[in-house]
């Protein structure tokens, strides 16, 4: 179980030359139960990505506490959290010259894996494994390809908590259906918790719980039955063009 208690995150205001602080997150508390599928949604710039980075240890909260199975991990490094069982998929995946897709999957798995094993993860995210396994994770991959490889690295880790920051961004509509399946399978098989930041109605639809964050604050949380009808009446669920595309 992952608990965030009264998390606040402030940065200096560059306009006022650091005399004032801007609150990116303000007193956010939430709990991610074991085997729960939670989607965080809300307007852009509302603090969702910062919250995901705080869970992964990439950003340190200004105040508040993070507990993992009751253990305080607030000051724990990225590496130690990863070892403890927290995974984080980047919104904009990182590119590496020379590091191959296989290298990355092997590092993610944390042990030697067979090519067949690596291929399985790639197939799950809709990539033809033999075309990709030896490729470098560099600028030659398209935005959609690298995004799917990023998701495959999280599948390879099989950790207790998996955090995805807008996994749908850059993924075409055809692959999007597969992506939903990937998350559903993960949820069924992994017995871990999944936290996804998303604007996508169809991802919101498969969530156990939905959390709405806006302007750095937790505005609403509840089951999808409780939150979704209200959200869909607003602009928070998905930018209108995405929604139009989904209805096709």
């Amino acid at each position: 179980m992952l608990e965030l208690k009264n998390i606040s995150f402030q940065v200096p205001d560059e306009k006022t030359r650091n005399t004032k602080e801007i609150g990116i997150l303000k007193d956010v508390s939430l709990t991610l139960e074991d085997n729960q599928f939670v989607v965080i949604t809300g307007p852009n710039g509302g603090g969702k990505s910062t919250l995901a980075k705080i869970i992964a240890g990439i950003e340190k909260p200004t105040s508040g506490q993070i507990l993992f199975d009751g253990q305080d991990i607030t000051d724990m490094s990225i590496t130690d959290r990863a070892k403890l069982g927290i995974s984080y998929a980047f919104q904009q995946p990182v590119r590496f010259k020379g590091v191959t897709v296989f290298d990355l999957l092997r590092l993610a798995a944390g042990k030697e894996i067979s090519v067949a094993g690596a291929c399985e993860y790639l197939s799950k995210v809709g990539l033809c494994a033999k075309d990709y396994i030896r490729r470098e994770v560099n600028g030659s991959l398209s935005g959609g390809e690298i995004k799917r490889i990023e998701i495959a690295t999280i599948l390879a880790r099989k950790t207790r908590v998996s955090v995805f920051d807008e996994p749908e961004a850059g993924i075409d509509l055809w692959s999007f259906q597969n992506l939903i399946q990937v998350f559903e399978e993960m949820h069924e098989q992994l017995h871990g918790s999944i936290l996804i930041i998303s604007h996508q109605e169809r991802i919101l639809n498969i969530a156990d719980r939905i959390i709405l964050i806006a302007d750095g604050k937790l505005v609403k949380k509840g089951t999808k039955e409780e939150v979704l009808p209200e959200l869909l009446g607003t602009a928070n669920a998905a930018p209108s063009c995405d929604k139009a595309a989904n209805r096709k």
Partner: protein
């Protein structure tokens, strides 16, 4: 051969034992083992230190190993090796130099290699440089490679220097005739107070000749690197040179790509980039459970692969 010599041989030539095919092993200034084959003849140079390697036309899928190992501190030598590769041959040549210096005097090996590559021949040339030993004497290597590529011939050159060479000045010159192609992949890592200079001069003389010179390097600690690459397009041809470097700690790197077009149909491109390891690359690997040091090692070894 003692254990040190065997280790050097492993590092520079990947050899655990005597290789298949033709070979010449030079150790501490002497040729200690040599074998010619029906198609590949290795002989001493008549006038100076070094060997001549004659490869018969049409020789296919054969290899030549010519490693040089030095374990005696203070030894300095200049060696001239000439390779004559016959028409339509397809061969792999593995050279390399390993210096173990456990003493206080500098050890130096300057290998001057000349390649005369016949029409339509294909040569893969692999060269590794390696240094070891904890003596204060410097390990110095100044290789010179001169390449003449006849019509429609192709040379792939892979040159690697990853560890232990204190000072190196590498000169590479090539002339290409019509339809000839040269591909160079250089990988270099310097550490400590090492200095490395790498210099390429490629003349694309024949129509539709092409060259691709790629250097990837990592400079750590207080080391210094200079990469200079000059491609001249003297007719209809294409050339590309690229230098990509990772800088760490207090190292210094200069990259000087240079192009000269002497013909309107010469298509030439250069690229150069120097930068430190991106923070987000480290973070990504740390989110997979690697420590910062492990992440750095993975990024560098991938980059130099």
């Amino acid at each position: 051969m003692d254990a040190i010599q065997r280790e050097l041989l492993m590092q520079v030539a990947g050899l655990h034992e005597i290789p298949a095919g033709a070979y010449n092993i030079r150790s501490n200034g002497q040729s200690i083992e040599r074998k010619s084959t029906g198609n590949i003849e290795i002989i001493n140079k008549p006038d100076k230190s070094g060997i001549e390697i004659h490869i018969k036309p049409g020789t296919k899928k054969e290899s030549v190993h010519i490693p040089v190992i030095m374990s005696q501190s203070g030894l300095e030598e200049v060696v001239y090796n000439d390779f004559y590769i016959g028409e339509n041959a397809d061969v792999t040549i593995i050279a390399g130099c390993g210096i173990h210096n456990g003493g206080d005097a500098a050890s130096r090996h300057d290998g001057i290699h000349r390649f005369f590559i016949g029409k339509n021949a294909h040569v893969k040339y692999v060269e590794k440089h390696y240094g070891s030993g904890d003596g204060s004497g410097e390990r110095i290597m100044n290789p010179v490679t001169e390449i003449s590529l006849d019509e429609d011939s192709f040379m792939e050159m892979e040159t690697v220097q990853i560890r232990g060479v204190d000072s190196t000045k590498r000169e590479n010159r090539a002339h290409l005739k019509a339809g000839a192609k040269l591909v160079v992949m250089e990988r270099l890592m310097t550490h400590g107070k090492q200095k490395a200079e790498s210099w390429f001069d490629v003349q694309l003389d024949g129509e539709d000749s092409s060259a691709n010179i790629v250097s990837r390097s990592v400079a750590r600690d207080e080391s210094w690197q200079l990469f200079q690459s000059h491609i001249s397009g003297n007719t209809r041809c294409s050339g590309h040179t690229e230098c990509d470097a990772i800088i760490m700690e207090n190292a210094k790197i200069s990259a000087v790509p240079q192009l000269t077009a002497n013909h309107v149909d010469a298509a030439l491109i250069h690229e150069a980039a120097i930068g430190k390891i991106a923070g987000e690359q480290l973070i990504k690997l740390m989110t997979l459970g690697l420590t910062e040091a492990e992440a750095e090692e993975q990024i560098i070894s991938g980059f130099l692969k």
